[in-house]
C-alpha cells in the first residue's frame, strides 16, 4: 500500500438501508410509543441533563431510525430520568420508559 499523503474521506451520509428492523421491533414491543414522535423537540428543550451535555431523546429516536443505535445510546446515557420530558411531550410519549427500553435493548447487543 502506498501512502499518497491523502486518502478517501469517509462519507457523512446516512444510509437507511443500515436500519435494523428486527431490533427496532423488539423496542416497539417494549415501548410502542417510540413510533409516535413528531420531532417537536420539547423533550430536548426541557431536559435537565441538557444543561450540562448534549442529550436529546428526539435525536436518539432519529438516530435509531437512521441506523445509528450507538449514537442514540450516547445521547441517552446522561439521562437523569427526571421525567420533565414526559410532562411536555405533546404526543404523550412515555419518555422515561422509552429511554430505559432503548438503553436496555440497544446496549444488550
Amino acid at each position: 500500500m502506498v501512502d499518497f499523503g491523502y486518502g478517501i474521506s469517509p462519507s457523512s451520509r446516512l444510509d437507511l438501508d443500515k436500519f435494523d428492523r428486527k431490533t427496532f421491533d423488539l423496542l416497539v414491543a417494549e415501548e410502542p410509543d417510540v413510533k409516535k414522535c413528531i420531532a417537536c423537540g420539547s423533550c430536548t428543550a426541557v431536559c435537565a441533563a441538557g444543561k450540562f451535555v448534549p442529550t436529546s431523546l428526539r435525536s436518539a429516536i432519529l438516530a435509531i431510525q437512521n441506523g445509528l443505535p450507538d449514537k442514540a445510546l450516547e445521547l441517552l446515557k446522561p439521562c437523569q430520568l427526571c421525567g420533565k420530558c414526559t410532562l411536555v411531550c405533546p404526543r404523550e410519549i412515555n419518555t422515561r420508559h422509552l429511554i430505559l427500553s432503548i438503553i436496555k435493548i440497544y446496549s444488550a447487543k
Binding site: 444543561k51 450540562f52 446522561p78 439521562c79 437523569q80 430520568l81 421525567g83 436496555k104 446496549s107
Partner: protein
C-alpha cells in the same frame, strides 16, 4: 404456665378428691390421628428448612441487626405488640373494616386460644401426655377423644374449660361463617374486589372451612363421654335424638383429623403460610432490615407473610379499571412466589409507587419496596454516563458560589455576602427541583412568601439544577441515583446554608432519606410555611373559599406530612375534607413511579382522584406537589380551580 396452673387449682372445690378426668385410652393413641400427624410433621419440616434457608440468605450485618433488635427493649416491646395486634387481632383491619376485622381475628385468635387452652387442659388433667413420647404432638389437639369425664365429679374447673373451649369454638365458627359468606358477597364486608385463589389456596381454604364444623361434630359426638358445655352438650343430645343410643364416633374424628392433615399439607403452598410467616416478617420488619433481592432473604418472609387477603386490590389507584387488577401487589407477590419472571417484570414496572397498598396492608408487606428491588435487578446495570456531573461539581464551590450570590441577588433578598462559605447560616437554601420549573407559579409563590416573610434565601437551581435522584431510584437505577445525590449533596454543603426548603415532595423524600445532610434541616415548604405562620412572620387572611387538600403520595404516605399543610390551609380558607384522605388518599395518576402505565390509564386514575377530592363540593383543589398540580390542572373540571399550596397562601397575603 405453672403460675396459671396454681390459679386454676384455686378454682377447684376439693383438690384431692377422685379425679374428674380419666385417661379413657391410656395408650393416648388411635390410628385416626395419622393424617393429622403426617400433615403437621410435613409442615413443621417444611418451615424449618425454609427458615434456615431464609436466614442463610440474610447478610451478616442483617443477621446481627435481627439479634440486636431482640435485646433492644423498644423493638422487643414493638414486636410483642405487633404480634398480638397484627397476627391475632388484626387491629389494622378492624380499624378500616370492623366486620372484616372480626372475621380475621375470630379465626386467628379463636383458633390460637383453642390450641392454648387444649394444652392447658392436658397440663392440668393428664400432664403425662405433654411429653413427646406420650403424643404431645397430637394429644392436646384430640384431647376430648382420649379422656373420659366422670359426670359425678365435674368440678368448676372442668366446666370452666368446657365453657371456654365451646366459646372459642363458636367464636371461630362465626368467623368461618363470615368467611364462607364473604366468598359470595364480599362487598358486605367492605371489599369491592377479592383475590382469585389458586388451586392450593382452594384446597387449604375448603379444608380450613371444614376443620371447625368437623371439630364441633367430633366433640359433640363424644360430649357425653368426655364432657362438653353449652355448645357441644346440646348438640350431643340432638345426635342422640336423631341416631339413638349408639353414635359412630370414629368416622367424625377421622374426618376431623383428615381435614387438619390436609390443611397442614397444603398450607406451605397456599396463602395460609402467612399464619406462621407473619411472625418472622414482623420480627425482621421491626429490626429494620430492608430487602436486597426481590425474592431472597427478607423478601421471602415478606412474600410468604402476604395472606393475599386482597385489601390492596381496593387500595390500588390503578384498579379504577378492572383490567389493571392483575397488576396489584397481591398478584405481584403471588408471581414472586411462583418465580414467573416475565409477569414479575411486567407488574413491577406498572406500579405508581403511591405506597397505599403498603400502608394499608394488615401486616405492612412493603410491595412497592419489593417492586423497586425488582426494577433494580433489571435496570441498575444498564449503562449510564453521569460523569458530566463531576465536571461542574469539581469547582462546584466556584461555579455555584458564583451563581449563588447572583441568584440570591436576583431573588431580591437583602444578602450582600458572596462566597458560599461566607453565606450566613441563617440563610435558607431553596431547591425547586426539576418539576417545579415546569410549574413556575409554585416558584413564584414560594419566592413571594420568602420575601413577604423576610426570609433570607438562596435559590439553588434557579436556572435548572441536577435531579434529586428519586426518579432514578424509582426506576431501579440506584447507582446512577447515587451520582446525582452526591453532586447535589456537595452543592448544598458548599452553599453553607443550614436549612433546605423543597417545593417538590419527590425531592423532599429522597433528601430526607438518602442524602444524610449533617447539620442541615430539611423541610418541605408546607412545613416551613406552617412554622412561619405559627411564629407570626406570615399572617394569612382567612377567606371563605372552600378548599380541599390533596395529599401527594411522597409527602403524605411517603413522609407522613399530613397536618402542617392542613393547619395552614385551615387559616387561609374553609378546608373541606375529601372522601378519602391522608393514608387513604388517591394518587393523582401523574406519579413518576410507574414506568409503563400509559397516558390513558393515568387519565382514568386522575379522574377518580379528582372526583374523590370533589366529594364535599370544594371550590379549589390545593396540592403541594408540582406533579400533582400539573396533572390536576389538566384534568379537573373548569368549575374548580387547581392551586398550589404556596400559591393559595400567597393570594391570602395580599
Amino acid at each position: 404456665m405453672t403460675g396459671l396452673l396454681n390459679i386454676l387449682c384455686l378454682l377447684t372445690v376439693n383438690p384431692d378428691s377422685i379425679p374428674e378426668v380419666i385417661d379413657r385410652i391410656p395408650s393416648g393413641y388411635n390410628h385416626f390421628v395419622i393424617p393429622f400427624l403426617v400433615g403437621i410433621t410435613f409442615m413443621l419440616i417444611w418451615i424449618t428448612v425454609g427458615l434456615i434457608r431464609l436466614l442463610s440468605n440474610l447478610t451478616r450485618e442483617d443477621r446481627i441487626k435481627l439479634l440486636l433488635s431482640w435485646i433492644n427493649p423498644v423493638i422487643a416491646w414493638k414486636n410483642v405488640r405487633d404480634l398480638f395486634c397484627d397476627c391475632l387481632f388484626h387491629v389494622k383491619i378492624w380499624k378500616r373494616k370492623p366486620l372484616l376485622g372480626y372475621m380475621h381475628s375470630s379465626i386467628a385468635f379463636g383458633w390460637f386460644m383453642l390450641i392454648v387452652l387444649g394444652h392447658i387442659e392436658v397440663a392440668l388433667f393428664v400432664p403425662k401426655h405433654l411429653s413427646f413420647s406420650e403424643g404431645a404432638l397430637f394429644y392436646p389437639i384430640f384431647y376430648r377423644f382420649f379422656v373420659w369425664m366422670n359426670p359425678a365429679h365435674v368440678a368448676l374447673r372442668g366446666s370452666f374449660f368446657f365453657f371456654l373451649m365451646d366459646f372459642f369454638l363458636l367464636y371461630v365458627l362465626s368467623g368461618i361463617g363470615l368467611a364462607v359468606f364473604k366468598r359470595f358477597r364480599s362487598i358486605v364486608l367492605g371489599m369491592r374486589h377479592t383475590t382469585k385463589p389458586s388451586l392450593a389456596d382452594r384446597i387449604a381454604l375448603y379444608s380450613l372451612w371444614l376443620i371447625f364444623p368437623l371439630r364441633l361434630l367430633a366433640e359433640s359426638f363424644t360430649a357425653d363421654l368426655s364432657g362438653g358445655s353449652f355448645l357441644t352438650i346440646p348438640v350431643n343430645h340432638l345426635w342422640h335424638l336423631i341416631f339413638g343410643e349408639k353414635l359412630w364416633i370414629m368416622p367424625v374424628w377421622w374426618a376431623y383429623s383428615i381435614s387438619l392433615g390436609l390443611f397442614f399439607v397444603t398450607m406451605p403452598f397456599s396463602r395460609y403460610m402467612h399464619i406462621l410467616t407473619e411472625v418472622l416478617w414482623i420480627l425482621l420488619r421491626n429490626a429494620g432490615i430492608k430487602p436486597r433481592h426481590p425474592r431472597k432473604g427478607v423478601a421471602e418472609a415478606e412474600i410468604y407473610a402476604c395472606s393475599s387477603c386482597g385489601l390492596c386490590l381496593d387500595a390500588c389507584p390503578m384498579n379504577v379499571q378492572k383490567k389493571n387488577l392483575k397488576y396489584s401487589s397481591v398478584y405481584f407477590i403471588r408471581f414472586l412466589r411462583r418465580k414467573n419472571e416475565k409477569k414479575i417484570d411486567q407488574i413491577a414496572d406498572k406500579c405508581l409507587m403511591c405506597d397505599k397498598c403498603h400502608v394499608l396492608c394488615p401486616v405492612s408487606v412493603d410491595a412497592p419496596a419489593l417492586r423497586r428491588v425488582q426494577r433494580t435487578t433489571v435496570n441498575n446495570h444498564l449503562p449510564y454516563d453521569l460523569s458530566y456531573l463531576k465536571a461542574p461539581i469539581v469547582q462546584a464551590g466556584g461555579s455555584w458560589s458564583e451563581s449563588l450570590p447572583m441568584d440570591s441577588l436576583k431573588s431580591g433578598s437583602n444578602m450582600e455576602s458572596s462566597a458560599p462559605e461566607a453565606v450566613a447560616s441563617d440563610k435558607v437554601l431553596y431547591f425547586a427541583g426539576c418539576m417545579s420549573h415546569l410549574t413556575p407559579r409554585i416558584i413564584k409563590s414560594v419566592e413571594t412568601i420568602f420575601k413577604k416573610s423576610g426570609v433570607d434565601y438562596v435559590f439553588a437551581d434557579r436556572d435548572g439544577g441536577i435531579c434529586c435522584g428519586r426518579p432514578l431510584m424509582l426506576a431501579g437505577k440506584t447507582d446512577a441515583a447515587a451520582k446525582t445525590i452526591a453532586a447535589n449533596k456537595e452543592m448544598i454543603e458548599k452553599s453553607g446554608c443550614k436549612k433546605l426548603i423543597l417545593s417538590c415532595p419527590i425531592c423532599y423524600k429522597v433528601f430526607k432519606e438518602d442524602y444524610h445532610l449533617e447539620g442541615i434541616e430539611i423541610q418541605h415548604y408546607t412545613q416551613f410555611v406552617n412554622d412561619l405562620v405559627n411564629s407570626g412572620r406570615l399572617k394569612p387572611a382567612q377567606s371563605s373559599e372552600r378548599l380541599v387538600y390533596h395529599d401527594p403520595c411522597e409527602l403524605g404516605r411517603g413522609c407522613q406530612v399530613y397536618d402542617e399543610p392542613r393547619a395552614v390551609l385551615g387559616q387561609v380558607g374553609e378546608l373541606v375534607s375529601a372522601a378519602k384522605e391522608r393514608d387513604e388518599s388517591i394518587c393523582c395518576g401523574g406519579s413518576l413511579g410507574s414506568l409503563t402505565l400509559d397516558a390513558r390509564d393515568r387519565a382514568k386514575i386522575t379522574e377518580s382522584s379528582v372526583s374523590n377530592l370533589l366529594a364535599n363540593k370544594p371550590q379549589t383543589i390545593v396540592t403541594a406537589c408540582p406533579l400533582c398540580l400539573k396533572t390536576f390542572a389538566e384534568a379537573a373540571p373548569d368549575s374548580v380551580h387547581v392551586k398550589d399550596f404556596a400559591e393559595i397562601v400567597c393570594s391570602s397575603l395580599e
